[in-house]
Amino acid sequence: MKGILLVARRDFWAYINTVWGWAILALALLLDGVFFNVFGLTGTAQYSADVLDQFVFFTSGIALAAAVLITMRLFAEERQTGTIVLLDSSPLSEAQIVLGKYLSGMAFLAFFALLTAYMPAMIFVNGKVSVEQIAVGYLGILLVGSAGVGIGTWASAISRNQLLAAVISTVVTVFFVTCWMLARVTDAPFKAIISYLAFFDKHLQPFQEGRIDTQGVFFFVSLTFAFLLLANRSLIARRWE
């Protein structure tokens, strides 16, 4: 565990100590604020629960996009600068390294989520939503973000450079986001499978409404685990090149 936290700590501070980390954070918060203003605060009167629902929806989407930018450097940058040797020649296992990287990405994403808290706080003060509803919404955002960070960690582990990692990560993430559209034009039995994979349409909706859906939790956790496992295998495979 110490090794995992060591890797996570360094990578998290690398985000905090660079312009890149703050640029991602600023952009994500700006977009989140704009969306909240456009969809939540203007136009016709809405129920506060609906405003929270929309906040969770677009914040999850922004978290996914941020995950691509956050994770692209995790392994690919270390490979480009040669510092991957420090990790590869250390007594840490590949699983520890992957988990450390994943945790750093999640910590940064959680930091972003924390900074968005003023928006649900406004809904709480001016509307009728409970703290539990807000907490469940954030759980949904972090679960979606976790899947995004998992996909990005894997993409970075298999890529030689950050750009390639970002492209792979984006393609896979977009696939999961647009599954509901693909399902419409797909015949059975694949229709059900593709439909099941849809991030927002299928699995996030209950969290937007303030309900913890165990099926959704299982889906996002499984997806994260699967991609981290793939990242782990790709790191091991590199030693056998």
Binding site: G3, G82, L86, D88, S89, P91, S93
Partner: protein
């Protein structure tokens, strides 16, 4: 004791190294010599645990590195040619972080830090950000990260490349100091450096070890009984030519006038029969003021061994 047995590695279908075998004793400094593509880097990467060999074993004090898994990497320190550095960190932070990465607890790291920084001659820059340091200091940071966990084997890939003459001299001292606590394996293409720093030399060609031993042992193997001599003599041009033409075993020679009747001769002998050479010169009326054996023959030895292996 580090023992390498039958080390072989393939990249796909291509064989990079084959049946590498050698042993290194404790506190020995061993040089790894080879042309580009000879398999040096692959061997070093296998020894550092970055690659799993296709066949063979590496044992340190009887512990097999491959079967022992990730934890065995704690007994090795590795510095690649380009030092791997987190440049946003200060020197002290970086070395401390690497110590913890290698499995040391924070208290142990703290107790070792000052000593390691002193060995690597980094004490006076320890609070500076690595980004601001010169190439020489960055190399030393690389060495510090490789030794902070007191490894049994330290692998240095081209440790003096890119250093200026003063830094080279300082680096030699750093390497000699390292050998007091651990075994050092150095890869370099600078032959003089290997000769200067190492106790023993391993010559790699075509993915195989073609020779190993001290410089003298390699010279004996590569050059047979021959010798290369430099002489300062006094005599006439005709007398010198007559003596060197008639002396037994003279393979080739050249002469340069030094002034005041003195000549500098460079003589290559097929067999080390320098007494016969002296006799021939004296008989021809040539006075010998100085005769020395050429010191650095490593280049010829190396070329002889590697050409012999690839032929």
């Amino acid at each position: 004791m580090i023992t390498v047995e039958g080390l072989t590695h393939y990249y796909g279908e291509r064989r990079a190294i084959e049946d590498i075998r050698f042993q290194i004793s404790e506190h020995e400094i061993v040089g790894f010599l080879g042309l580009n593509g000879a398999g040096k880097s692959t061997t070093l990467r296998v020894l550092a645990g970055l690659l799993v060999p296709s066949a063979g074993s590496v044992t340190i004090d009887g512990v097999d590195l491959v079967s022992a898994g990730a934890t065995s990497r704690a007994s090795i320190g590795y510095l690649p040619e380009d030092p791997p550095l987190y440049r946003e960190m200060t020197v002290r932070e970086f070395v401390a972080y690497c110590g913890e990465l290698k499995g040391l607890d924070a208290r142990t790291v703290e107790s070792r830090l000052d000593g390691v920084l002193k060995i690597a001659q980094l004490t006076h820059v320890q609070h500076r950000v690595i980004q601001e340091l010169s190439h020489g200091y960055r190399k030393r940071c690389g060495i510090a990260q490789a030794i902070i966990h007191k490894p049994k084997l330290v692998i240095l890939d081209e440790p003096i490349s890119g250093l200026d003459p003063r830094q080279i001299v300082e680096m030699r001292q750093v390497i000699r100091d390292l050998a007091k606590d651990c075994t050092v394996l150095i890869s370099s293409h600078i032959l003089g450096e290997i000769s200067e720093t190492c106790d023993r030399i391993l010559v790699l060609a075509g993915g195989k070890i073609v020779a190993q031993g001290t410089e003298a042992e390699l010279a004996a193997r590569a050059g047979g009984d021959g010798a290369r001599l430099t002489l300062i003599v006094r005599g006439t041009e005709a007398g010198i030519d007559a003596a060197l033409t008639s002396a037994p075993g003279v393979l080739r020679y050249d002469r340069h006038e030094e002034g005041a009747g003195l000549w500098r001769l460079h003589v290559s002998l097929t067999t080390d029969d320098r007494e016969a050479l002296v006799t021939a010169l004296v008989k021809a009326g040539v006075g010998i003021r100085k005769m020395v054996e050429d010191e650095s023959e490593l280049e010829q030895i190396f070329l002889g061994l590697t050409q012999g292996a690839s032929a």
